[in-house]
Structures are given as structure tokens and as C-alpha cells.
């Protein structure tokens, strides 16, 4: 066998590894489910008698009229009003990152390209879904890595990086990660005329690529929490006053884990306490590393009193959140605005995905002791692989002060639907959910929670 044949064979096999056994969608046999047991299969299309045509037309017209009434009654706002919302108000706007190419080069008929997840930002009105604008990072920055907003949804803080660069006179496939350009912080305000205004934000901190930064803006928009480090370096939390530029720093000795602030529920409403989670993050992305990655058995959360002058992370309260038996470690931990509870997603997953069922609940933990005090919102996902942007688990977006009411993307009938969970009851229409066109846009944006600020 020639060298070329060997090379082709090995490259084809490596390429085919992109299709993993877990990614195989279940088989849907057309017509398989409509069959009635014991009834012989019908052969060929059925011929309807000619006199049925006017009757069918009349039935269709009646169905259209009845359907119109049904839809009108189902639309939010057209039926009886639901119970008064416990959430004070929705943020006015939300912003989310959009993937795009930063590099495109064609050489000898071969296309080389690199794309990033935050090539630009879209800002939309929560209620109407109207697009207020697209925001690009200023050159040479080409990727919005982190994004956060305040409670009103009119102020956003963005962190942009210069992720890739190609040096002149190098082969097209040599594309280097920028190792020196630090993160650029920007402030995005939505003005009275509903125009996004972007400006630089000077912070007394330098974050370089690879330090795994995450940010969370306090509900009143005056302070920014920034974490980075870990992975063999000290883990750092800075709480920076955006008015004065002063920072308070909490730091740990060198650690393997990475400090992470969740996209939702990092701060309490009074801006006093901050929840920071220990996570294992893959530093050098590769398929092997992704394959070998195993989540923690428990979730470790630090509660930091941000009014303290700073110090070591160990000064914060460390809570160990244990999952219920046979379930995954609590994920997407949300601190309720009153600071009394932590809400997290735990689930069981069966394999293979085409034959198994995922199920789980929202687990509510005491923020004082870390013990589980309640389980609510059970869901089941039946053996159908979630599609792009769909998960067999909930995504929490907003919480009422005590956590009794949540707006979330909830797995229901194998779809993730924007819903309100009040106590143990779930509904998908009515206040305080956004109405009109904004519903769908927000639902789509929520399906990538790390890229959304709402």
C-alpha cells in the first residue's frame, strides 16, 4: 500500500471521529406511530368519493375559524390575567454574542478559517424582540469573551480579546493565539433613544488570554466582579468600583481549579454577597482533553462578603452542594437575590442517548449550610437527542427575590420552552414573560446561556 493510501485512510478515520456514537440521532420511522395494532396496512393512497369535496371544504373553513378563536384565547394578554408576578420587572434589554469568522484565507483551493463565538454582539428589546443594534469589538480585538449586565438591562460590561493573529509571511495554516494582548473592557449603555453606546472602560486590572476570566455586574451597575487564574496559578477575585476604579482583591494559593461566576445569580440584590464556583476548565482545548473531561461529583461554591476589604478566598464561606443520589453534580448554580438559597440543576442521564431517558429536578440548597432543602420542577427527556441549542435540562434566566419564582428555559415535550416556574407549577404564557415577538428571540438567546446577558 502506498504512502498516499495510508495517509488518506488515517485522515479519513480521524475525520470520521467527528461523528461520535453519542451524536447519532434516533431513528424516526415515518408512519410508524400511526398504525393501529391488528389493523392491516393500507395499500396505496385512499380515493375519496367526489361528493366529499364540498363537505371537506366546509369542515376546513370551520376548522380555520375555530382555530383562530383558540389561538386568540391562548395568546398572552387575551385571556384572564394570571396571578400577579413575583418578579419585580424584567430587564429592558438583553445582549448576546454571535459566532463569526475572524480569519479566512484560500490557498491552492483550500479554505482556511477560524471562527470565534463572540465575533459581535446583538442587543434586543426584551418585550418586542426588536434589534437595537450590532456591536463589534474595536480593532485589533476580535472576540467578546465575557459579557455581563445590571438588573435594569441598560448597562452592559464586555470583555474583548484579540484571540487570533496571523503573522505576515507565514504559511496560511499558521495562526497563533495572541499571547500578549490583554483583555479590553468596554461599557455598553442603551441611551434614552434606545441606541447602544460603546465606550472604553479602564480597569486597574490586566487579564491576559488564557487566564479564564469571568465577570458579573452588581445589580445596581456600580461594581464589577472579575475572576481569573487557577489552573496552577492563584485564583483571583477582584471587585472593582466602576465609579472610582478602586478594587478589592481576594486571592487563593495556586490551585488546579478555575474560579467562575455564573451568568445568572452571582450577586445578591443588595450587592453584598457574591457566589463564586470552583470549576474544572480545560486549558488547552483538544478532542482528547474534551473526551477525558469529567465533572466534579459535587459543586463547590464560595460566598464572598464583598463589603469586606479583601483577603484570601478561604475567608469566604465554602459550601459543598451534593447532588441527590445517582444524579450529576449541581450545575448552573444560582444565588437567590435575598441570599438565602442556592438553586442548581441536577439530572440523571441514561445511555445510549437514542434509547435512554434523561430526568432531573431543580435542587434548592440552603445558602447557610449547603444542605438540600427542596426539590422542584421535575422534568423528563425521552430518548431523543437534544438538537442544536436544546438541552435535556433547564437553563435558569431570572429569579424572584426568594427563588420561589423562576424564569427559565424548561425541557418539556423534548423542547426547551421559555417558562415561569412558581413553586412547583409551570406555565409557558402570561406575565411576567415577554410578550410579542421578543419571546422567540429571547428563547433562542437563552439556549446559549454563557453568551447572554439579561
Amino acid at each position: 500500500m502506498s504512502v498516499l493510501e495510508d495517509r488518506l485512510r488515517s485522515e479519513l478515520r480521524a475525520e470520521s471521529d467527528l461523528i461520535t456514537p453519542e451524536s447519532i440521532v434516533p431513528l424516526r420511522l415515518t408512519g410508524d406511530t400511526e398504525r393501529v395494532p391488528g389493523v392491516p396496512r393500507r395499500r396505496g393512497p385512499r380515493q375519496w368519493p367526489i361528493w366529499m369535496i364540498p363537505l371537506a371544504a366546509a369542515a376546513a373553513a370551520a376548522a380555520v375559524i375555530a382555530g383562530t378563536f383558540a389561538i386568540a384565547h391562548a395568546l398572552p394578554g387575551s385571556g384572564p390575567r394570571p396571578a400577579s408576578p413575583k418578579l419585580a420587572s424584567l430587564p429592558a434589554y438583553y445582549a448576546y454574542t454571535v459566532q463569526g469568522n475572524v480569519y479566512n484565507y484560500r490557498s491552492h483551493g483550500t479554505q482556511y478559517s477560524a471562527s470565534v463565538t463572540g465575533r459581535y454582539l446583538k442587543v434586543r428589546d426584551t418585550v418586542s424582540g426588536k434589534l437595537l443594534g450590532r456591536v463589534y469589538p474595536p480593532r485589533p480585538y476580535n472576540n467578546f469573551n465575557v459579557i455581563a449586565t445590571d438588573a435594569s438591562g441598560t448597562l452592559f460590561v464586555l470583555g474583548a480579546m484579540h484571540d487570533f493573529e496571523r503573522n505576515a509571511n507565514t504559511p496560511p495554516k499558521v495562526l497563533a493565539r495572541s499571547s500578549r494582548t490583554p483583555m479590553k473592557f468596554l461599557e455598553l449603555r442603551i441611551d434614552a433613544a434606545r441606541r447602544p453606546q460603546l465606550s472604553s472602560l479602564l480597569l486597574p486590572v490586566t487579564v491576559t488570554p488564557g487566564q479564564q476570566p469571568s465577570i458579573a455586574l452588581s445589580p445596581d451597575g456600580t461594581r464589577l466582579a472579575l475572576t481569573f487564574g487557577g489552573g496552577g496559578q492563584p485564583a483571583v477575585l477582584d471587585v472593582i468600583s466602576l465609579g472610582t476604579g478602586r478594587a478589592r482583591r481576594w486571592v487563593s494559593p495556586p490551585v488546579a481549579w478555575t474560579p467562575v461566576l455564573g451568568p445568572t445569580g452571582a450577586w445578591t440584590a443588595d450587592g453584598k454577597t457574591l457566589a463564586l464556583q470552583e470549576e474544572d476548565v480545560i486549558r488547552t482545548p483538544s478532542r482528547q482533553a474534551a473526551r477525558n473531561w469529567r465533572p466534579h461529583a459535587t459543586a463547590l461554591v464560595y460566598l464572598i462578603d464583598t463589603r469586606a476589604p479583601g483577603g484570601t478566598l478561604a475567608a469566604g464561606k465554602l459550601l459543598v452542594l451534593r447532588p441527590p443520589a445517582h444524579e450529576s453534580a449541581p450545575g448552573q448554580v444560582v444565588l437567590t437575590p435575598d441570599g438565602t438559597k442556592l438553586i442548581a440543576v441536577t439530572s440523571k442521564q441514561a445511555f445510549p442517548p437514542w434509547g435512554g431517558t434523561s430526568s432531573g429536578q431543580l435542587s434548592v440548597y440552603s445558602a447557610r449550610t449547603g444542605t438540600m432543602i427542596q426539590r422542584r420542577g421535575p422534568w423528563t427527556w425521552h430518548g431523543i437527542r437534544p438538537g442544536r441549542g436544546r438541552f435535556a435540562r433547564p437553563v435558569i434566566a431570572l429569579s424572584s427575590p426568594t427563588g420561589s419564582q423562576l424564569i427559565l428555559l424548561y425541557p418539556q415535550h423534548n423542547e426547551n420552552t421559555l417558562s415561569v416556574l412558581t413553586g412547583g407549577s409551570l406555565r409557558t404564557t402570561g406575565s411576567p414573560l415577554p410578550k410579542g415577538a421578543g419571546y422567540q428571540e429571547l428563547e433562542d438567546a437563552l439556549s446559549t446561556p454563557d453568551s447572554l446577558a439579561w
Binding site: 479519513l12 478515520r13 470520521s16 451524536s23 431513528l27 398504525r35 483550500t110 482556511y112 478532542r287 445510549p352
Partner: protein, 197 residues
């Protein structure tokens, strides 16, 4: 992965094709229900065994994961519809392979465009959220620039490891055509790789 590819050519004998399915476990009654159950069970079992290998085959030819999944789904749905008409001694995997290859041809004809070069799966970290399409396989990229027939021949011969006779059956051509198409494809591939260096 090799096992997944190897079983493409393992499933050749007509007797084995039927015996691996659960058809024998069902009573031979001529009612729609039993027919449907048997066909459903058999096709589902075949799908669980062969979907991965066939999806990979379609993905290599098309370079598009979604289209590959659709082609394989269509092939199995076609098998399900045709189940009653298949003779008992039919080569079910061969039938599926031909369906997949034909489905890929239809997709290519419909799209009339170069398949996308690479898809990169997401990795669970912020660092990995930066997707790099740069991780490049030159031979695969060159393969995707070959004419569809040459591409099919090379993929069936060097990815699915099919002998010439089965490659010919899957492509619907003679064995001699497979040999010449493969030789021309390899020569063109070598030329493209040399030019790319």
C-alpha cells in the same frame, strides 16, 4: 472507530442479515400489526448497529454533519418502507449503503457547492469556545475537491474498506470502473497534495 467501519463490510451475507434481525422471534401471521412490529424492530436494530458507520460514510462524502444524518435517516426510512418487498436473501447492508451513496449524490447535485471543510465539536470550557477550523487535514480537503464519483470510490475503498466488488455494487458500476476511478482519484489527490505543499 475501526470496529464501526469494519462492521460495514462484515454485514454481507443474506442469511446473516435476516438472522441478526429479530424477525424469527415473531410469529408468521399475515396481519399488518405483526408485519409492522417486525419491520420496525428489525430496522431499529439495524439502525442501532449501523447508523454510526453509515453516518460517518455520508459525512466523509458530504462534509456536512446535518446532511449526512438526513441521508442516513432517509435510507433507513426507505428500507422500512421497502421491507416487505425485499427478498429474503437480500443483502440489507448493501441496500442501505447504496441508498446512502445515492442520497449523498442527490445532496451534492442539489447543493451544487463545495462541501464545508471541517466541523469542530464544542468542548466544555471557555477556552475551547474559540473554535479553530485550522486543524486541517489536507488529504481530506483535497478529497472533497475531487469529482463526486472519484470521491465516492476512494471513500468506499479507503474509509469503508470495501473490496472492489462491493464498491462496484454500492456505486452501481462495474468492477473495472471502480479500479480506474480509484486510480484516477488517487493520482489527482497526489497531484493536489504536491501542489499544496
Amino acid at each position: 472507530m475501526e470496529g464501526d467501519v469494519a462492521h460495514l463490510s462484515d454485514f454481507t451475507g443474506p442469511a446473516r442479515a435476516r438472522s441478526t434481525g429479530p424477525g424469527a422471534a415473531y410469529p408468521q401471521q399475515d396481519t399488518g400489526h405483526v408485519e409492522v412490529s417486525r419491520a420496525t424492530h428489525a430496522v431499529t436494530t439495524l439502525y442501532q448497529s449501523h447508523a454510526l458507520g453509515l453516518t460517518r460514510l455520508a459525512f466523509i462524502i458530504l462534509g456536512d454533519r446535518q446532511a449526512a444524518e438526513d441521508v442516513v435517516q432517509d435510507a433507513f426510512c426507505g428500507l422500512f418502507r421497502a421491507w416487505d418487498r425485499l427478498p429474503d436473501d437480500s443483502n440489507v447492508l448493501g441496500y442501505l449503503r447504496v441508498s446512502v451513496v445515492n442520497g449523498c449524490r442527490t445532496v451534492i447535485r442539489r447543493n451544487k457547492r463545495t462541501p464545508r471543510s471541517l466541523a469542530v465539536p464544542p468542548a466544555p470550557s471557555a477556552e475551547a469556545s474559540v473554535l479553530v477550523g485550522e486543524e486541517h487535514r489536507a488529504a481530506v480537503a483535497a478529497l472533497r475537491r475531487l469529482p463526486p464519483r472519484q470521491r465516492e470510490a476512494l471513500v468506499l475503498r479507503y474509509f469503508a474498506d470495501l473490496p472492489e466488488q462491493e464498491t462496484a455494487a454500492a456505486m452501481g458500476v462495474s468492477r473495472g470502473t471502480v479500479k480506474s476511478t480509484t486510480a484516477r482519484g488517487l493520482a489527482a489527490l497526489g497531484r493536489m497534495l504536491r501542489e499544496g505543499q
